[in-house]
């Protein structure tokens, strides 16, 4: 009697129902795949049975041995790529923090000119796909030392860029760092802008020198933001696949993700799963550390003071020079790549930039005209491309809809039931996919859904599996946005409706959602754009029928058809920027206002 009463009053609250359903849903799509994958790292797969001389499905520690302890194998398939990943990720962190931090300081704290233009353009690389800068770098600095045609720089100057400059660790770290610099800028700039100016004024009143204020007050205050930016950039850089593909593969510079892709596509699935698991542990470790560091004791909540007009540092004579340098640098990373893509897509023979070599045949040529490109029809006439575009849009819309809706509901339920065990469990489960490197996550799904499991048939090759993984992977964007905004919304607003008998459905549609409009829309926008420009999550799972734009781009690039890959890239960038600008103009939501990578 008492138990059934308790159960009934528990289920009376809509948030509890949502939490229960989402708990099952997320557990099935995150925890169980994890367990299956762990099992896969110690199981003999079909392709390995011959080599291992063991029956399929039997237990083996060979995969782990090969990855971690084998003299010849481990170094090339794990340790070397691992070290390369560490080097490029640390380099990217450093670059993004220095560049983003300096820009944040210049824009919020000095009297630099063109602030509006600077801050708008500076965000640009972050809205564009992560490999945009990599491809631009490749276009410009590729050399003929490793075969292939020379890039723009070599063609125009006659100087072949050295290999270390054109490919490998240096450019990977640099372009990844520049891509995430806006992220550092948003985080650090946000704190600098919202930081109570009184905190610095108080130090000034106590006769502190300017430099001591910066050292003792300003930097410690932004340190948590710096640290969490560092960790997020680090884990994003670790899981980046496209950039090392463009800039590393020409010189066989492997990082964990590219090596994982090779291993998974070869006949060593078990070793691949073992590597994916290690990546997941690293990713989860980094972000768990980040959560712990955002400490409790020193509370950094900044009560904004009324004196927002803090004295800006006067750059004096250097003002114009710094302003112009700043704007030129920003233009190089935000606008120039687009020009480079457009240019590369209209030159007939790669490496020749004279106007006589310009052609539109890669955009509008028929297959008869495009004999050099294996009779591939031009981008705008290519049915394969149109199908991929349609798939991309369909997938992004569906993922955005499901991730956005579920994420918002989860955010709502977590906040409403805050403090309960169930709420904490769902909170962690929903955020878990964010910690997982995309490539490793898709490896899990490959492992889980490539065979029939109970009533669920093999999903490999279906559109549905892409939707599923996209939804789960992007839900953290929406659930974080939902949690943050629901925290701001007093419970009383809903209770005021409840007390006059407004149903839950009506309370949601008429009260909660309209109030939280912007964050709900960001909850849809972020998954949409992330999905539109996603490569590493889908590259293991797509089959020729359900190719999306990004994987098509990847394939053209592998074949070395630079006009096509550049053209498609331009197309993706334009779509992403167009949608973001449109939504931003209509609703005020924008991708750079949320979390993301």
């Amino acid at each position: 009697m008492k138990v059934s009463f308790k159960l009934r009053s528990f289920l009376k609250k809509p948030q509890n129902i949502i939490l229960c359903i989402m708990f099952l849903f997320l557990a099935y799509l995150t925890l169980i795949p994890m367990i299956i994958m762990i099992k896969d790292t110690v199981t003999v797969h079909a392709s390995e049975a011959m080599r291992l001389k063991k029956p399929i499905g039997s237990f083996t520690l060979n995969h782990w041995f090969k990855v971690l302890f084998d003299k010849e194998n481990s170094w090339s398939i794990f340790y070397k790529p691992f070290i390369n990943s560490l080097i490029t990720s640390l380099g990217a962190c450093l670059i993004s923090l220095v560049v983003g931090g300096v820009y944040a300081w210049l824009i919020t704290r000095t009297n630099i000119k063109y602030k509006k233009a600077l801050s708008t353009l500076f965000i640009f690389p972050y809205i564009m796909p992560s490999w945009t800068l990599a491809l631009a770098w490749f276009n410009i600095f590729k050399n003929s030392l490793v075969g292939g045609t020379p890039g723009m720089f070599a063609s125009l100057t006659g100087i072949e860029p050295a290999n270390w400059f054109a490919y490998g660790a240096f450019p990977i770290a640099l372009v990844t760092g520049l891509h995430y610099a806006p992220f550092a800028y948003i985080n650090i700039g946000g704190i600098l802008r919202n930081m109570d100016a009184n905190l610095e004024e108080a130090a000034l009143m106590l006769k502190s020198t300017r430099s001591r204020i910066v050292r003792k007050i300003t930097i410690p205050m932004v340190l948590p933001a710096i640290l969490s930016t560092f960790l997020l950039v680090f884990s994003s850089a670790m899981s980046s696949f496209a950039v090392p593909t463009f800039l590393g593969l020409p010189v066989r510079y492997q990082v964990l993700t590219t090596q994982l892709y090779r291993t998974m596509n070869g006949s060593q699935k078990g070793q691949g799963y073992a590597m994916a698991l290690i990546m997941i542990i690293i990713g989860v470790g980094i972000l768990a550390f980040n959560q712990r560091m955002t400490g409790v004791r020193k509370n950094y909540t900044t009560i904004t003071g009324k004196s927002s007009n803090i004295a800006l540092v006067n750059l004096k004579k250097a003002r114009s020079v710094i302003s112009i340098i700043a704007i030129i640098l920003v233009l190089i990373v935000s606008v120039f790549p687009l020009i480079s893509f457009a240019l590369e897509s209209i030159i007939l023979r790669p490496g020749n930039y004279s106007p006589s070599n310009f052609t539109l045949q890669f955009w509008i040529g028929t297959s008869e005209q495009n004999k050099i490109a294996n009779s591939e029809p031009g981008i705008l006439l290519n049915p394969g491309l149109w199908r991929a575009l349609w798939n991309s849009i369909k997938l992004s819309v569906v993922c955005a809809f499901s991730a956005g809706t579920l994420g918002f509901l989860v955010g709502y339920a977590i906040v409403r039931a805050r403090g309960t065990k169930l709420s904490t469990a769902v909170d962690n489960l929903a955020f878990f996919p964010y910690l997982m490197p995309a490539m490793a996550f898709s490896a899990i799904y490959l492992s889980m859904f490539s065979v029939r499991r109970g009533i669920i048939p093999s999903l490999y090759g279906s559109f549905f599996i892409l939707v599923l993984i996209g939804t789960v992977k992007y839900m953290p964007f929406a659930s974080r946005a939902g949690i943050n905004s629901m925290m701001q919304l007093s419970n009383q607003i809903e209770e005021a409706g409840e007390i006059i008998g407004v149903s839950w459905w009506k309370r949601m549609t008429k009260l909660v959602v309209p109030i939280q409009k912007t964050s709900v829309i960001s909850g849809y926008l972020l998954p949409f754009i992330s999905c539109m420009r996603e490569l590493s999550l889908f590259v293991l799972l797509v089959t020729p029928q359900n190719r999306v734009l990004t994987t098509l781009l990847f394939q053209y690039n592998e074949k070395g058809w630079s006009q096509f890959s550049n053209g498609i890239n331009l197309l993706i960038v334009i779509i992403v920027i167009f949608v973001n600008t449109l939504v931003n103009k209509l609703t005020g939501a924008s991708i750079d206002k949320g979390i993301g990578g």
Partner: protein
Amino acid sequence: MAKIELRNITKKFGGFVAVDNLSIDIEEGDFITLLGPSGCGKTTTLRQIAGLETPTTGEILIDGQVVFSSEKGIDVSPAKRNCGFLFQNYALWPHMTVYQNIAFGLENMKWPKDKIDARVKEMLALLKIEEFPDRYPAELSGGQQQRVAIARTLAPSPSILLMDEPLSNLDAKLRLEMRTELKRLHHETGATFVYVTHDQLEAMTLATKICLLKNGLLQQYAPPLTVYNTPNNTFVADFVGNPSINLIECEAKVLGSNKVELKHGSMDVTVTTDAPVPEGAQKFILGIRPEHIAIAETGIPVTVASSLPSGMETNLRLSIGDRELNSVVFGSIDYKIGEKLNIAFTSKSLNLFGENGEFLTTCGVEG
């Protein structure tokens, strides 16, 4: 020693004039409150003294030294003005312990470690927060944070202490306690205090002199009781005192240079003024403090509109024709709504204002 002089200070934010040609002298050891409704320029004035805000035009002197002059192009850095500043939201550094917060200013002055330690301990004891040196601000209550902020500001013994609504974030009981504390601190340190508040009671009880501002313009600069008893205009009269003063627009007939008959509704009184009033004036505003309205056997007939007894006193609203008067009657007494009473104006120093609200003279009702 620590005298502050403001000369023709004007501060504009774009087209908005925050402070309009303000000139005041603050004597050493004064406790000045800058009082006024929000947006009147009081915080801006305080921040200009500190050097956190730059006046558009004017001159500021501290101890006879020019620290700011728009004409001479002088702008001494806040760090060199020897002022302490207490912020409304305390502005404690969240990443430093209480001890580190208090020691920060002393470190800037390159004090030796043992002297810093002694001074911090002294401040902790003075503000009664000895138990918390190792806590972070987030671990303290509002009142404790407030004490830490005061300790931090007082530690370097500034000769001028500037305070920006320091008590507005505290609850009523704590606020009362801290007011007493501040008055004690003022007495003990002998420093010059400049205190911003919008709470007239705080201004009245704390200050040696009140500087009342409205829309950036100085309204009155005088000791609290002077402001209360002879306000410069009806705005000042209305701003200080609770319940607020009764301002009655009257039809007037000047009977002699010191005698005026005033009529409003059922009220018809003749007053003797302490200074001559302009002849031929037809309208005056009579200002009567609530405590100067007494219930009498005979006098002006009124009806009780509301009665709020609080034990020590009872606040009454009394209607005379088309308007109501505030009155305070001392003692434990209650009246019924609708009860008919008679009132008399007991004081000989009622306020008489001209038609435009400017103060003319004090006066008393005949008889």
